[in-house]
């Protein structure tokens, strides 16, 4: 193990330690001459384990064979590759796991020959980057991007059908117009399904900003908004407040919104509708929160299906909807480390419970 004297300079070492990227300097013979603390962290090695080792120790097995050749090629024609033009490659950690890395290279001339300095950035979390270790996350990014792209052809479907109705309705005749209307309706339905995919992918990628939230205050605000939108409906709201929890405000409000929307919708047939928000103790004595209504209810045999996306227990004719509100609510509650469940009976209303752990769960 040789320390290269020109690099042992205090200022240089301090600088090396201060840069945010992992830095690995490689001597002309391909052995690691110097690393910084960020590199130790990124690759999971102590620096004493790395100094003097061939740099291929940090390259995934599959790419190792070709690496020495690439390295020699770079030293023969060393052009700096700035970060922006850096390559997306893979790195190998001490435990043999791999990650997507952006690597930029530059050459340093020293008395001992040309050193190659590599700056390495973990790119696993970048949108659209495929990472062997976090394929779940890359799937979510993929879904997000695809959902966007699906909207354009859908707009064309809906658009041309509406134009057909608008300008060629006479030629189409009643039956033809009916079909065109079905294309419009199906496009809208698909658009809502895509919105759910987007929402799902957004929630699963969202960082939770946990803070104290008054669920009662949020519920009251949502209830007032529902009432404002349909002032003719008479609903008796009973809302317990304050109800303090630790949660991500925006996401947990979406849960309340979806549950209250649901209660509002399924009580639409009743003259004496009532909706209640409050707290209770669940079986394991943890505090849980509930939204109760005296509306249409559901057959408890299908209670498990309620929280599945696109599942509906009522016909679209009676109660329109996409069957995604409760699935979203479940996803958000589970991201908070909580759970959701429901009780109800046909014609006897429904109660939706959830818990909030207050900590993020993976």
């Amino acid at each position: 193990v040789t320390q290269l004297t020109p690099l042992a300079d205090d200022t240089f070492v301090a600088l090396l330690e201060a840069v945010p990227d992992a830095m690995v300097c490689i001597a002309a013979d391909g052995r690691i001459a110097l690393v910084n603390a960020q590199a130790e962290r990124l690759f999971g090695y102590e620096r004493t384990e790395l100094i003097g080792q061939p740099v291929e120790i940090l390259v995934p097995d599959a790419a190792r064979a070709g690496h020495a050749g690439h390295r020699a090629g770079y030293v023969a024609d060393p052009r700096p590759r700035p970060m922006g033009a850096g390559l997306l490659l893979a790195g190998r950690r001490r435990d043999a796991s791999t990650f997507t890395a952006e690597i930029s290279l530059s050459a340093i001339d020293t008395d001992e020959g040309t050193l190659v300095a590599a700056a390495i950035r973990d790119a696993s979390a970048w949108p659209g980057v495929k990472d062997p270790e976090r394929s779940g996350q890359s799937t979510e990014s993929f879904i997000y991007l695809v959902s966007h792209d699906l909207r354009a052809p859908l707009r064309a479907l809906s658009g041309y059908s509406e134009i057909l109705l608008d300008e060629y309705g006479g030629i189409l005749g009643e039956e033809g117009r009916g079909y065109a209307e079905r294309i419009v309706a199906a496009s809208e339905h698909m658009s809502r399904l895509i919105d759910y995919l987007l929402q799902h992918s957004r929630v699963s990628r969202a960082e939770l900003h946990v803070q104290p939230v008054d669920l009662g205050g949020e519920a009251a605000r949502i209830a007032a908004e529902l009432q404002r939108r349909e002032p003719d409906r008479r609903i008796c709201f009973t809302i317990e407040k304050p109800v303090q929890v630790l949660a991500d405000r925006r996401l947990i409000s979406t849960v309340l919104q979806n549950l209250l929307d649901n209660a509002w919708k399924f009580t639409s047939g009743r003259g004496d509708a009532s909706i209640e928000f409050g707290t209770a103790r669940s079986e394991d004595a943890a505090v849980c929160y509930y939204v109760r209504d005296n509306g249409a209810g559901f057959d408890s045999a299908y209670a498990g299906k309620l929280f599945q996306p696109f599942q509906r227990l009522h016909s679209a004719r009676d109660f329109p909807g996409t069957g995604t509100g409760l699935a979203s609510a479940r996803q958000i509650v589970e991201r908070h480390g909580g759970r959701v469940w429901a009780e109800g009976a046909v014609g006897a209303g429904a109660t939706f419970y959830f818990t909030v752990d207050g900590k993020e769960s993976a």
Partner: protein, 145 residues
């Protein structure tokens, strides 16, 4: 009379056709110039051949060659195009796209609705606001440069 051309930067031929029809149907009869990628749009804007600059730009973000945000950046960095109203009209509702658009000087950000009647109404409202109601930037027109 100042120039009232609309520049539509849109690579999707269906969105182009639907946008043009929505303008026509709302009796917005201004000339609409269509550029189908970001490089074309920049070439058109900086042609310097006396072509009048548009009174309004509808800019998609996801474009071939040069993306919409880059078009916006380049426009805002040049005094000839710095003040032209730009409405970003896109499918994206990614926070980074919305923020990026405003940071780079977009005047408005509108997400294209999927339902055509909503889309047509959005196009009509944009045209009506930016071309009729909104007071144009003095000097944007044939004689400005």
């Amino acid at each position: 009379m100042t120039n009232r051309t609309i520049l539509l930067v849109e690579d999707n031929p269906d969105d182009e056709a639907l946008t043009l029809r929505a303008f026509k149907k709302s009796n917005i009869l201004n000339e609409v110039v269509v550029m189908r990628d970001g490089a074309e749009a920049l070439a058109y804007l900086f042609a310097g051949d006396g072509t009048p600059r548009p009174a309004l730009i509808l800019l998609d973000l996801n474009l071939p060659k040069v993306g919409g945000l880059e078009v916006l950046r380049k426009m805002r960095a040049d005094k000839r195009t710095r003040l032209i109203p730009v409405v970003v009209l896109t499918s994206s509702k990614l926070d980074e796209d919305v923020l990026g658009s405003y940071r780079n000087g977009a005047n408005a950000y509108v997400r294209k609705p999927v339902k055509y009647s909503d889309f047509a109404e959005a196009v009509r409202a944009l045209g009506a606001f930016w071309l009729l109601m909104n007071e144009p930037v003095p000097g944007i027109g044939p004689e400005s440069d």
